[in-house]
């Protein structure tokens, strides 16, 4: 097999190949490291870790030789730079952590390595996971491997897990880790033509992942197939006594029962996700998705989630409020950037002013404001009540349906140079993903087709808490019906667009 062939394998196929001895983990890692080096123009990386990758691959080969292969042994993956990795620079896409090397390993990455996966790279991301475009990274924007049909302008990969999404779409990694707070896995998956899964809040440990909004943040996988996403999820999910919000319930073998059989499942289609301004191609793809599921034997049920329109405003109160507090620790005192000054307050101001980019500063300001005396009840407390109503909407809907189908995002990938001076317009990218985040529900984005411009579009499947199996099942039915090529970005030139 050529190196290119190796990078185009799915995880399940690669595990087969490794098991058969068709190639070694080292060969697999080397092929991906070459692809990684060839695609630096995407700016998808913050820190490449080729030495670790080869060492881990060799260890993997040694295990396999002894007949002790682990579930993901030898599978090369990319890791969002939000996850602390022991001895490896971890920046969260921010200048304020430009020199931060954690002496500890996050729980989910530790679980990935314990399953035999091989770390290739720490990927670029929106600063502190705040963004939907990867334009807020201190380390520069990530370029999507996708291009529109008639428009050569570079496109964003979505965000905030933009580097992780681009790496999988560009065949640099077989899978990757992202985090999703309001859509930061699902939206870039949609923009990048791959599968992105946000598990139920509490399904994966947050320990060692740099916090953005603690009540919303959740780790999850990107992959080029639903099955591969299921394999990765199984490796990273599970209770962690070090995270008080992680939930102690068994982790099923998500891939084992996966056959895309949706016969008899009731699929909800919420009226509120079809605003008048929804682009026609997205509305059409959604209708197509509904038809595919109906054809596959599912029952389609019209539902209402009445508080949907309140979700985005409430999210943009709760998430910044938590962020304003979570980011207080970056003060120049113990680690990370310090801009010296004569007085303490000056040092704080200089450090945080230089260390945080504009979007992070904006959200810290918003969050500080909504928690302030006199405004707390009007903003933060009201947003919490709205959040409870959103959760109730879903709970009621899930008494009637087994899963919900919506578009993932209201647009396809926009050009890097699209105007970004209006933050509200940017925030609207999350309009379909935020409600499930507020309710803590699992959601997946499956690539289902191309936009009028020829860019990927995803469909989102939402499920009951901890019902990832049903979510995956519906996603696989869509995947099968859509026949979308997640490596489509590479198809014309067999290389990432320059």
């Amino acid at each position: 097999m050529t190196a290119t062939d190796l990078t185009r394998l799915g995880i399940a196929e690669a595990l087969d190949g490794l098991a058969r001895g068709a190639f070694s983990a080292r060969e697999l890692a080397t092929a991906h490291l070459e692809a990684m080096a060839a695609a630096r123009n995407l700016n998808a990386y913050i820190t490449e870790t080729p030495e670790q990758a080869l060492a881990m691959a060799d260890a993997s080969d040694a295990r396999r030789a002894k007949g002790e292969a682990l579930p993901l042994d030898g599978i090369p993956v990319a890791v969002k730079d939000l996850f602390c990795t022991k001895g490896v620079l971890t920046t969260a896409g921010s200048r304020i952590l430009e020199n931060f090397v954690p002496p500890y390993e996050s729980t989910v990455t530790a679980k990935l390595w314990a399953a035999g996966a091989v770390m290739l790279v720490k990927t670029n991301m929106d600063e502190f996971a705040m963004g939907s475009s990867n334009l807020t990274s201190y380390y520069g924007p990530v370029v999507s491997p996708w291009r529109a049909k008639d428009d050569p302008r570079p496109r964003v990969p979505g965000g905030s897990s933009g580097g992780s999404a681009a790496a999988v779409a560009a065949a640099i990694a077989m899978g990757s880790l992202g985090t999703d707070t309001g859509g930061s896995i699902r939206q870039p998956a949609s923009f990048s033509g791959i599968v992105g899964l946000k598990p139920t809040y509490g399904r994966c440990s947050r320990w060692g992942a740099v916090a953005f909004a603690s009540s919303l943040d959740q780790a999850g996988p990107f992959a080029r197939s639903v099955r591969d996403a299921a394999l990765l999820l199984r490796a990273i999910a599970g209770f962690d006594p070090q995270d008080s919000t992680s939930v102690d319930c068994p982790v099923p073998d998500y891939a084992a029962g996966l056959d895309g059989d949706v016969r008899g499942l009731r699929i909800g289609v919420p009226a509120e996700y079809r605003p008048a301004e929804l682009p026609e191609d997205i509305a059409a793809l959604w209708d197509q998705g509904i038809a595919w599921l109906r054809d596959a034997g599912a029952e389609i049920v019209d539902i209402s989630l009445p508080h949907t329109t309140c979700a985005l405003p409430a999210y943009y109160i709760i998430a910044p409020a938590e962020a304003s507090s979570n980011l207080a620790r970056y003060d120049g005192v113990r680690y990370g950037l310090r801009v010296p000054a004569d007085e303490l307050t000056e040092m704080y101001e200089a450090t945080r002013g230089a260390g945080f980019g504009a979007e992070v500063r904006r959200r810290v300001l918003i969050g500080t404001y909504v928690l302030s005396a006199g405004y707390y009840d009007a903003y933060y407390n009201k947003a919490r009540r709205v959040r409870a109503l959103i959760a109730r909407d879903f709970a009621q809907a899930f008494q009637r349906v087994d899963a919900i189908l919506t578009p993932t995002a209201p647009s396809d990938a926009f050009p890097l140079d699209a105007p970004t001076d209006d933050p509200i317009r940017m925030y609207l990218n999350d309009v379909f993903t935020v409600p499930a985040s507020m309710a803590g529900l699992p959601g997946i984005s499956v690539p289902a087709g191309l936009s009028r411009a020829g860019l990927p579009l995803g469909l989102q499947v939402l499920g009951r808490p901890f019902d990832e199996p049903t979510v995956l099942q519906v996603a696989q039915a869509l995947e099968r019906a859509a026949g979308f090529d997640p490596l489509g970005a590479l198809a014309p030139a067999l290389a990432p667009a320059k």
Partner: protein
């Protein structure tokens, strides 16, 4: 207590917020040690240092201690409580917020009884008790230009115990802290060590004309001894009265107590007060207690000072004063109970010995009772020697001095120094005869009606016998001889 001002009487109104360090091996949300006195920054976990991605996990021991304390304060235990973040920037606060409890504390309203110097008692209501993290320590004296930070204390569990404004004098405030401290120490939930800062108080002071509504209060932060609490209150009440009598108004503010000058001074005004932006900590779920577990703790409560004092008075016939002294410190009460050995030894005699003899000697060297060179068992043996007539009470005091000095047993000292009481009639008669023979004039005096001389004769004979003569035998025999 009323204070006389230039324009009439004033009454002070006092409420206290006591910060008590929870006795626990590990911190409130991390596994780092809470031991006092470690080298700076040697007891700091990744969580305490607020490294990126670190998460708090509640220490069950600290919850248990808070619930025990709530039960000891006769307070309501809230089966659901919530941890909030109190946000502010300071270098010794690594997270940029303190995890505390704001609207839903673990313990609600309670009440304790305080003992006042005149022997009366008074209830003081507890408003609430909540759990929170301590901050680290800023070291300003290590370098001329820089401040150093020691995070050993950062994250240690504190109980903030808030009283209602029920106290009206420095005595009452002192009695409140004394009683609270005793209860905490009995429960083993706080060691009460004020010198190490393990128990410190914010004192809220206001003044008013008797019968009028509360005045504006000032909060004096972090006062760390009962003496300073008294001084701070006295000074602050005077200050406020002077302002009011001059026609001014008291500004609500936070003040510091300067122990060297014995005065309070402004720290920050109400306008400068922090906006802490409290909100529920999203890293922690609400703390939900199992009612059965709480009941189990209630059943396991040790006997507390008030109950113990009642029992000492009832079962041992002690005076209220003696009983109060003995129960004030858990260690004293334990010593006393070991000494009387279940009532086998005379409780009143034992009380006298602990309060007068033992305390007198320990105080001279500043030795705490738990480090007394003479343990309860050894002192008990001494009391037994008095009870069985082996030595006189007077001899016993000398023996006790030697015990304190040498740590040797009473029996050994009595044996070695030949201090056994003389109960031999002939020996006592001989000693009496010698004294009488030497003082014929005094005998005449006595027989002429000056019976006060009896005591003088007893003293002479005692001196001659080295204090060892059996007092009863001596008295009887002497009286007989003096009759002539």
């Amino acid at each position: 207590m009323l204070i006389r001002g230039e324009t009439g009487d004033w009454e002070m109104v006092l409420g206290l917020e006591v910060h008590a360090q929870v006795t626990s091996q590990a911190k409130l949300f991390s596994g780092a040690s809470t031991a006092f006195g470690g080298e700076p920054n040697t007891q700091v976990s990744l969580i305490d240092a607020a490294m990126p991605g670190m998460l708090p996990v509640i220490n069950e021991m600290c919850v248990r201690q808070a619930v025990l304390t709530g039960l000891g304060l006769n307070a309501r235990i809230n089966l659901t409580s919530v941890f909030d973040r109190k946000n502010y920037f300071y270098p010794d606060l690594p997270q940029g917020y303190q995890i505390s409890q704001y609207t839903q504390p673990i313990v609600g309203a309670g009440v304790i009884t305080i003992d006042l110097p005149d022997g009366s008692t008074k209830p003081v209501r507890i408003a609430r008790l909540h759990l929170e993290q301590d901050a680290g320590k800023s070291l300003h004296d290590q370098d001329p230009h820089r401040t150093f930070i020691d995070l050993n204390r950062a994250g240690v569990a504190l109980m903030e115990i808030v009283s209602e404004p029920d106290m009206r004098s420095p005595d009452e405030a002192a009695a409140y802290v004394t009683k609270l401290r005793a209860i905490l120490r009995y429960l083993g939930t706080c060691d009460g060590n004020m010198e190490q800062g393990n128990l410190r108080a914010d004192v809220n002071v206001s003044v008013r004309r008797p019968g009028e509504p509360f005045g504006t209060r000032c909060e004096i932060k972090n006062v760390n001894s009962i003496r300073f609490i008294r001084q701070a209150i006295e000074y602050e009440a005077r200050r406020q009265i002077e302002i009011l009598e001059d026609g001014g108004t008291v500004e609500q503010e936070t003040r510091l107590f300067d122990a060297r000058k014995g005065e309070t001074r402004s720290m920050r005004s109400k306008e400068e007060a922090h906006d802490y932006r409290y909100f529920p900590d999203p890293d922690l779920l609400p703390l939900v207690l199992d009612p059965d577990w709480v009941e189990e703790l209630r059943r396991s409560l040790p006997e507390l000072p008030d109950a113990k004092r009642e029992r000492f008075m009832r079962d041992f016939g002690l005076s209220a004063y003696d009983a109060s002294v003995l129960v004030a410190e858990k260690e004293t009460a334990a010593y006393y109970e070991a000494l009387i050995d279940g009532g086998r030894r005379d409780p009143k005699l034992a009380a006298n010995w602990v309060i007068s003899e033992l305390y007198g000697r320990l105080n001279r060297t500043g030795t705490p009772i738990e480090q007394s060179p003479v343990g309860a068992g050894a002192l008990g043996e001494l009391l037994d020697l008095i009870a069985d007539g082996t030595i006189t009470a007077r001899t016993a005091k000398d023996v006790f001095d030697t015990m304190i000095e040498t740590g040797r047993s009473a029996a050994a000292i009595v044996e070695e120094k030949g201090l056994k009481q003389i109960t031999d009639t002939a020996a006592i008669e001989a000693a009496i005869a010698a004294v009488l023979d030497a003082n014929p004039d005094k005998i005449a005096d006595y027989r002429a009606g000056n019976e006060k001389l009896m005591g003088w004769f007893v003293g002479q004979v005692m001196r001659a016998t080295g204090g060892k003569a059996n007092p009863k035998l001596l008295n009887e025999t002497l009286r007989e001889k003096l009759k002539g």
